[in-house]
Symmetry: C2
Subunit: 526 residues, 2 copies
C-alpha cells in the first residue's frame, strides 16, 4: 500500500488562518518585536486598472466577494495546527523562525475580531483607485489579513465584472454560467457566485447552486447521445437512430424540462429533425418542449436555421440555447450576424434573437483575456503613538502608482443638466473634510487639472463605503439577490459610454483639495 | 443583527459529491431509468491543444493534479446533505426532478469506489490527444465524475505547464511562486502545488507549504518600510531614515535570513545604500546577508546596478531576487538585456545572471495569456450488454475534434540514430493490439500520412498509462518530489525543439493501424 504517509493534506489548515503569504508572518513578528503589533493602522484595498482583455477593456468593475471573505474571517483562528506549523519553521541557521513570544501573541489575539472593516457593498459599480475595502486595527493583524483579503475579493470582482459585460452584451437575454470544468479548480465556486452577482441567472454547478439557494441549470451532454449511438450500433442501427433513442428517453423522463442538444452528429441533418420528431410526440402527450441547444459550429447561422425549423414545426416558443466559447465579444458578433443573416432566410432577426439563451463557460469563469485584477492593499495611515493618524505613502517612479495617503471617505457625485442624472465622478476626500462649494475635483496625479461643479449641477452626493461587519452572518442567497439588484440600479446611473464594451469612456476618480495637498506634502517630504 | 439566515454556505457540501455540473445528474438519472446505470463504460480524459499564450505557445504539458483528485474521490460521498439537495430540486412543472429510485441508487452506490482508474503519473511530459486519465466502471458514476475530474486535473496541468516554461526560461536559477493574492481564489492552492510540480523550488503560501512539507518563502513587503517611514515622519525624520530603520529592524530580527526589498522609495539612491549599510553591520555582527529584492522598474537594468553595488561593497555572494510581472517571456528578455547591458557597466553578465532568483506571481498562477486547458472527457467504449466493448465516437465537422474511439493503450516511442535517444512519438494503440514491426505511425486525421520506424531505430517503447488507485493515500510531500523528478527526467528525453518557448516543434501523436481502422469504420457508419 505504498510508503507510510507522513504528509496528508488538510485543506482546512492550508486555507485557514495561514492562508496568507509567508512575508506577512515575518513582518507581523517584526511588528511584535518592535512593540508595534497593536498599533492602530489603516489599510485600503483598491485596484489600479480595469481589466484589459486585449482588444477590449472594462470601463467599470462590479464589486464582489465580501460575503465569502466574511465567512473566512469568522472561521480563521490562530489554533494549534496553525501555531504548530509556525513553530516548526526553521530559518537558514536551523533555529526557529517564529519565537514563543510571537506565537503567544497570536494565540492571545485568537482571531481577527479586533479589526474594523468598511466596504463598498457587493454588486455596486466601482472604479479604479477607489478604496473598496478599508481595514483598521492592530498593525500585525491588519498586515496578516492582506493576502486572504486580496485573494478572495480580487477574483470575485474580476469575474463579476466579466459576467456583467457578458450579460450587457446579451441585451436582456438570459445568461447561464457553465464554466466549472475549466475554471481554476476550487476557484470555480467563487467564479459561479461572482457570475450570479454579475447578472447570470443561474449556474450549472450543482452543489454550489443548492447551497446558495439557486436552482442549478443543465440538461444533457453529448455523452448521453454517444451512449445511445454506441448501443444502436451494437444492435445494427446507425448513429441517427441512436440520437433519436436518446432524445426520446430524455423527453420521456423529463417531459416538462425537455431541452435537447442537437449537434452530436450533424445539427441540421440529424439533430434538429430528431428533436422535432420528439417535440411533436411530447406535444401529443400534453407537454411543451423547452428548446434546443447548439454547442459547436457557426452558432449564429445555426441559430437562424434552428429557429426557422422550430417555427415551421410549430414550436414558436421553444428556446435556442447557445454555448461554446461565449464571451461579450462573441455574443455581440453573433447578434450582428443574425441581424444580417436572418432576412436572407426570410426570418425575423428580432424573433430569432428573442428566443436565445446563452451558456457562458470557460471565458467567463477565467476572465479570459485578463485573468487577474490588480487589486492592492496599502497602508494609508498609522497611529503616531499618541492617538493621531500619521498618513503613510508608497512612492513610485510611476505617478499613477503613488498611493493616495490618509484616512479617506469616498463620495460618488451625481449630476445632470438635462433632467437625467448620472454619476459624474468618485471623489476621494479626507475623513472629516467638509466638501467645498462649488465642488473642486482635482486630477489624482496632475497639478492644476481640476473640474469645478456648481451646487445646482449636483443632484446627489453619496457615500460609497459602509460599515462591514464580517461577524454578522448574512443569508447567502439574499446577499446575492441584493448584490444583483445593486448592480442593475447602479448601471442605470452611469453614462452608456462608461459601459461600452470596447474602448469605454474613462470615468473620473478625483481627489479633494485636502487629499491633494496631503499627497503633495508627503511626496515632497520623501 | 439582520434578517434570519436561511442559507448559510457550507463549502464542504458545495464541493463534495455534488461538485459537478447539473447535467451529469440528469443524465445519470436517465441511465438509471433505462437500466444502464451500472453498464460498464470507459471514458478518457485528454486535451486537444496546448496552451497558446498569444505570441508564444506550449509544445508540451506537465501532467498534474492526480493526488488531489484522489483526495476528492476518497472524500466524496452520496450522503444526506447531497441527497437532500437533490430531493429538493423541482422541475418546471413543480414536481421533483430526481425520484426516490435514483436517490436510492446513489445512496446504495455510496461513493465512487466502483470506478477503476488509469493515469499518466504527475510530473510527466504529456501531449495533445493522448489519454491522460482513464475511467472505467458503472456508466452513471463514470458520468458524474466527469466535471470534478476535469476541474481538478485541467487546472493543475495548466499551471504546472506554465511553471515549467518559467523554470526553463530561468535556465537553472531558482523560481519561487508568489501568486496567491491575485490567483483565482481557492484555486490559489492548486496553483501553488502545480507550480512546485512544474519546477518552482518553493511558494509564498504559508499554510499550503507547511501542509505539503515545504518551507514557505518570503521576507518583507513595502508595507513594512512604509510603517517605519510614517513613524519617522511623525518624529521629524524623512522617508530614507525610515527605510534604514526598517532594514535594521529586519536584520536584527532575522540576521541569517536577511533579504531586503529595496524599491519602496528609490532603488539606487535610497534602497541599495540603506541595504548596504545594514549588510555591513550584519557582517560585523558575524552574519552574512541573503540579498536584495527588486519589485518595480527596469528589472534588468536595476539588477546590473544592484549587482555592481553589492560587489563593490564586498557582498559577492548576495542574491538578487526579481519579482513583478514575471513570466517565461519577461525572464527571457531580462536575461537578454543583462547580457547586453552588463558590459557597458564593466560587469560580468554571467555573474549578474548567476545571482538571480525569480519570484513569479500572477502570470504563473493564472497562466496569463491562456487561463484554461481545454481538457475533455469522452466516452470511448461501452459494454454492449454481453461483456464486450462497443466503441463509441463523437463526430464533428472539424476532423481534429472527432475522438479516437475504443479502449486504448498509450505507448511512448523512443528512437535515435546518433547515440542519443529521444521521444519521437506517442502512439495510441488498441488494448490487446500487437505493435507492428516495422512500427507504423498513422497521422490521426489524414489518410495515408504515416511514418514507419524500423526496429533498429527504436530504443524503447514505454507504456504511459499506469493503474491509479485513489483509495491508496499517498504522502503529499513525496508525491510532489516524485512528480518533479519525473518532469526533469522527461524533459531530458525530448528534443529541445519541443521545449522551445516560442513556436515549438510539433510532437507526433499517432494512431496504430487498428486505432485508425476502427476510427474510420465508425465515421463511415454514422
Amino acid at each position: 500500500m505504498g510508503p507510510p504517509v507522513n504528509h496528508s493534506f488538510d485543506r482546512s489548515v492550508a486555507e485557514g488562518v495561514l492562508y496568507t503569504d509567508q512575508y506577512q508572518l515575518t513582518m507581523a513578528q517584526l511588528y511584535h518585536r518592535m512593540g508595534l503589533a497593536d498599533r492602530p493602522s489603516r489599510f485600503e484595498h483598491f485596484f489600479r486598472r480595469y481589466p484589459d482583455y486585449g482588444r477590449h477593456q472594462a470601463g467599470y468593475c462590479i464589486n464582489a466577494g465580501a460575503a465569502w471573505f466574511a465567512d473566512w474571517v469568522r472561521s480563521a483562528r490562530f489554533d494549534d495546527p496553525a501555531l504548530d506549523h509556525l513553530r516548526s519553521h526553521r530559518n537558514r541557521a536551523g533555529t526557529r523562525l517564529f519565537d514563543d513570544s510571537f506565537l503567544d501573541y497570536l494565540a492571545d489575539a485568537g482571531d481577527f475580531s479586533s479589526l474594523r472593516f468598511e466596504a463598498i457593498p457587493e454588486g455596486r459599480v466601482v472604479h479604479a483607485n477607489v478604496p473598496l475595502t478599508v481595514v483598521e486595527g492592530p498593525l500585525a493583524l491588519a498586515q496578516l489579513i492582506e493576502t486572504p483579503l486580496l485573494n478572495q475579493l480580487n477574483f470575485q470582482t474580476l469575474i463579476a465584472t466579466k459576467a456583467s459585460r457578458v450579460v450587457e452584451a446579451a441585451q436582456g437575454a438570459s445568461v447561464l454560467e457553465f464554466g466549472m470544468r475549466r475554471a481554476p479548480e476550487r476557484g470555480a465556486s467563487a467564479a459561479s457566485r461572482a457570475s450570479l452577482i454579475g447578472g447570470a441567472i443561474g449556474s450549472s454547478a450543482a452543489g454550489l447552486s443548492h447551497e446558495l439557494g439557486f436552482t442549478p441549470s443543465g440538461t444533457h451532454a453529448h455523452a448521453m447521445v454517444q451512449v445511445f449511438m454506441a448501443l444502436s450500433q451494437g444492435s445494427g442501427g446507425d448513429g441517427r437512430q441512436g440520437e433519436l433513442d436518446a432524445f426520446r428517453a430524455y423527453a420521456n423522463l423529463y417531459p416538462d424540462d425537455c431541452l435537447l442538444l442537437v449537434d452530436t452528429i450533424n445539427t441540421i441533418n440529424s439533430g434538429m429533425p430528431n428533436a422535432l420528431i420528439v417535440f411533436a410526440e411530447l406535444r401529443a402527450a400534453g407537454h411543451e418542449p423547452v428548446g434546443i441547444r447548439l454547442d459547436s459550429g457557426d452558432l449564429a447561422h445555426l441559430a437562424v436555421q434552428a429557429s426557422r425549423m422550430l417555427d415551421e414545426a410549430g414550436f414558436d416558443d421553444a428556446s435556442v440555447v447557445l454555448s461554446s466559447g461565449l464571451d461579450e465579444i462573441t455574443i455581440w458578433q453573433i447578434l450582428n450576424q443574425i441581424t444580417l443573416e436572418a432576412p436572407r432566410y426570410d426570418q425575423d432577426a428580432t424573433k430569432v434573437i428573442g428566443r436565445l439563451v446563452y451558456g457562458a463557460g470557460t471565458k467567463m469563469a477565467t476572465s479570459e483575456g485578463d485573468p487577474s485584477l490588480d487589486g492592492v492593499y496599502k497602508l494609508v495611515a498609522i497611529d503616531d503613538g499618541t492617538g493621531s493618524w500619521e498618513p503613510a505613502i508608497k512612492l513610485s517612479d510611476t505617478p499613477a502608482k503613488v498611493i493616495n495617503p490618509g484616512a479617506k471617505k469616498v463620495w460618488r457625485i451625481y449630476g445632470g443638466r438635462s433632467g437625467r442624472t448620472a454619476a459624474t465622478a468618485d471623489l476621494l476626500a479626507q475623513e472629516g473634510e467638509t466638501l467645498s462649494d462649488p465642488l473642486v475635483l482635482q486630477h489624482p496625479n496632475t497639478e492644476g487639472v481640476t473640474r469645478t461643479l456648481q451646487a445646482e449641477h449636483i443632484t446627489e452626493r453619496e457615500e460609497l463605503l459602509e460599515p462591514f461587519d464580517p461577524w454578522v452572518e448574512v443569508d447567502q442567497h439574499e446577499a446575492i439577490v441584493e448584490a444583483r439588484a445593486r448592480r442593475v440600479a447602479d448601471l442605470e446611473r452611469f453614462d452608456p459610454g462608461v459601459r461600452r464594451v470596447v474602448n469605454p469612456h474613462g470615468y473620473h476618480v478625483s481627489l479633494s483639495p485636502e487629499s491633494w495637498a496631503l499627497k503633495q506634502s508627503l511626496i515632497k517630504r520623501n
